[in-house]
């Protein structure tokens, strides 16, 4: 498995470096990677644990801003944050640290949602997560040091620093690593006792509590992991576009994450990967088709929800249900081993 991934990385890296894969398509693939991280992390809470969290965009925002601020603080002279602490040559080494800052910040923000979830479920939790999303967005809009509603820029200088050290497509590399890390950690989590506990909570919370599953602790860890990974995705998003503003992390973004999770199948990691890729391709595919049919681009946002509604009517379990790819193609099991 690791060799296959390494080979994939080298092949794609080679394509990008030689210029065969243009900048625009590279951006699409990188966005796909970020969506995979988002959908897989939300699947942990919405799919495996059966909660209804609609505030995923908020955690992504926290991670994005935290990573951006860390990067600017360490490497870029800025009016608010002062002179850089470290020289540009250390950017490739420090970048995982920057992303980790985003992860931790978002995980801490996840505690806001986790604590009310101890007592409430279902619809009330939906309200709480929605409110949390709004609170985070409003809070960021009020912090003038990071530009408030007007956004925060400057991350491209960090990437420029990395390019000075070695001129390879760094963001592609980091996003690839991020995706691999997310899938790995989620898979380990789901197949451990924590994962079983979470699935027990999904089935029947009271029975799980009776069977000595510490539901509070499980919920806390699951929410923190999920929001932390969302923060990781947010950090990567920030550095990919070199610009963040609260307007990128609205309820529409949370809706996109929900679409991807339910499309892929609640409780299926490979399902969420597939649906993230499909969703990204669908968005790209719709653009020229709509231009050709002379319709406005906003019809995209009628087609996508309509698709989800039809999905709910006719195949509510999504593409994969709660099975993994290896359940459908058992021969794949030959190619990897998990301890």
């Amino acid at each position: 498995m690791p060799t296959a991934l390494g080979a994939l990385l080298l092949v794609m890296g080679g394509l990008v470096q030689s210029g065969i894969l243009g900048q625009y398509y590279l951006t699409v693939i990188m966005t796909m990677g970020i969506f995979i991280i988002l959908s897989a992390s939300l699947n942990l809470v919405n799919g495996y644990m059966g909660e209804f969290s609609c505030g995923h965009a908020g955690f992504m925002a926290v991670g994005a801003y935290a990573s951006s601020v860390a990067g600017i603080f360490l490497f870029v002279p800025d009016k608010v944050f002062g002179q850089p602490w470290l020289p540009m040559s250390m950017t490739p080494l420090a970048f995982p640290l920057i992303l980790a800052v985003g992860f931790v910040a978002a995980a801490l923000a996840g505690v806001i949602v986790a604590i009310p979830s101890f007592k409430t479920r279902g619809d009330y939790l939906a309200v709480i997560t929605l409110a949390a999303g709004y609170i985070i967005k409003s809070a960021i809009e009020n912090i003038d040091a990071v530009g408030g509603p007007r956004g925060f820029m400057g991350m491209n200088k960090v990437i420029g620093g990395m390019n000075e050290v070695l001129d390879i497509p760094w963001m592609f590399f980091w996003i690839f690593l991020g995706v691999v890390f997310t899938i790995w950690i989620l898979r380990r989590f789901v197949y451990s006792t924590y994962g079983k506990g979470i699935m027990a909570i999904h089935q029947d919370e009271v029975a799980a509590e009776i069977m000595s599953v510490n539901t509070n602790r499980m919920k806390l860890i699951a929410f923190m992991l999920s929001s932390g990974l969302a923060g990781l995705a947010g950090g990567l998003y920030a550095y990919l576009f070199s610009f963040v503003n609260p307007g990128s992390f609205t309820i529409l973004r949370s809706t996109e994450c929900l679409v991807m999770v339910y499309l892929g199948g609640m409780g299926s990691l490979s399902g969420s990967i597939l649906s993230a890729m499909l969703y990204c391709l669908l968005l790209e595919f719709l653009k020229p088709v709509l231009d050709y049919l002379q319709l406005s681009q906003t019809i995209k946002w009628v087609i996508i929800p309509l698709g989800l509604i039809l999905l709910m009517q006719f195949r509510p379990e999504g593409i994969m249900g709660n099975r993994e790819l290896s359940d459908i193609f058992p021969k794949l099991k030959r190619y990897y081993r998990f301890k």
Partner: protein
Amino acid sequence: MKKLLVALLALAFVFPAAAFGADTIKIGFNIPLTGDIPKVGEMSKDAAELLKEKINGAGGLAVGGKKYMLDFVYVDNEAKPESAVNAALKLIEGEKVLAMVGPQGSGRAVPAGEVANNNKTVMVSAWSTNPKTTENRPFVFRACFLDDFQGPTAAKFATGELKAKTAAVLFAVDQDYSKGISEFFKKAFEKTAGPGSVVAYETFTTKDVDFSAQLTKIIKAKPDVLFVPQYYNEVPLIVKQARELGYKGPILGSDSWGSAELMNLCGDDCKGLFFVTHFAAAGAKGATKEFIDAFNAKFKQIPDDVGALTWDATGMILAAIQKMGAISGDLAKDREGVRAAMSTMTGYDGITGKMSFDGKTGDPIKCAVIVKIDDKGEFTFHESVCP
């Protein structure tokens, strides 16, 4: 079934591929066709189409003896900053345009300008008045005056002709444009009328529709004039609510009022009010009148300031390309060539006034116009203010 799907997906990747034609000049337009201020985008697109028709109808743009047809690409930035950044990237890297016009509003122009500057592509914002758009960005220019000139002009008009001794400001705190110009106005007003003469400095957030709390506070402070530097979708609500809460004094606006949609949405409440802007359609002469008549004939409406400025911005880019002398085909070299030609352009005679760039900044030296909304609801020329 699966093969069909795969084939369709593969086809999708073919479509976005852009072809850089041999004898065409591609200019990109980063405009708000949807979102909060779609009229701005519509006017920009209409003006650009009019110019394209005029030049392509004459056989194309003559650059160094060869004639090139114009190809304009329009991308919607939805009046949102992140979409403006994406649109800029799409135009610069996807469509490989030679230069970009827009975004028009400062909130979008500031972040998109960073992208344009980093990718070494010339960007001309027709309507953005916030100084940050062109600050430290050699590749970014604008076709209009700045807020550090507009704010004091508004303040001078308020203290002079409106004889105001106290003022109140109501603006959106999350918009670069309104925040910037309100600060300039406050500074200039307090310099003339004394510190503390801006008795109320209230804010709201975009998408708010209820201003009763802020307006109640403002009216209690009894200002002589109310300055509202907002867009045409917010001004009607503010003016209406101010009148309903009992404010009878004058309301002063900025260039964001200048849209053709304003009177459509505002109606009688806005008659008799003043605002600072770039040009007044009624009473125009010469090339300006030609433009207005041609626009009216084709699109059945009088162009507003965004349309006129877009015409000028696009015209300036085309003049810069002509000044370059030849198009080499090497995109990076050509973009640098356009930049060099733009930064040394002097005396460009636009329909919104004469413009010159001094080579140090992308800001032209231009005059402003104070417009009064008369009883027929038309924007009439009141006076011209020059720096």
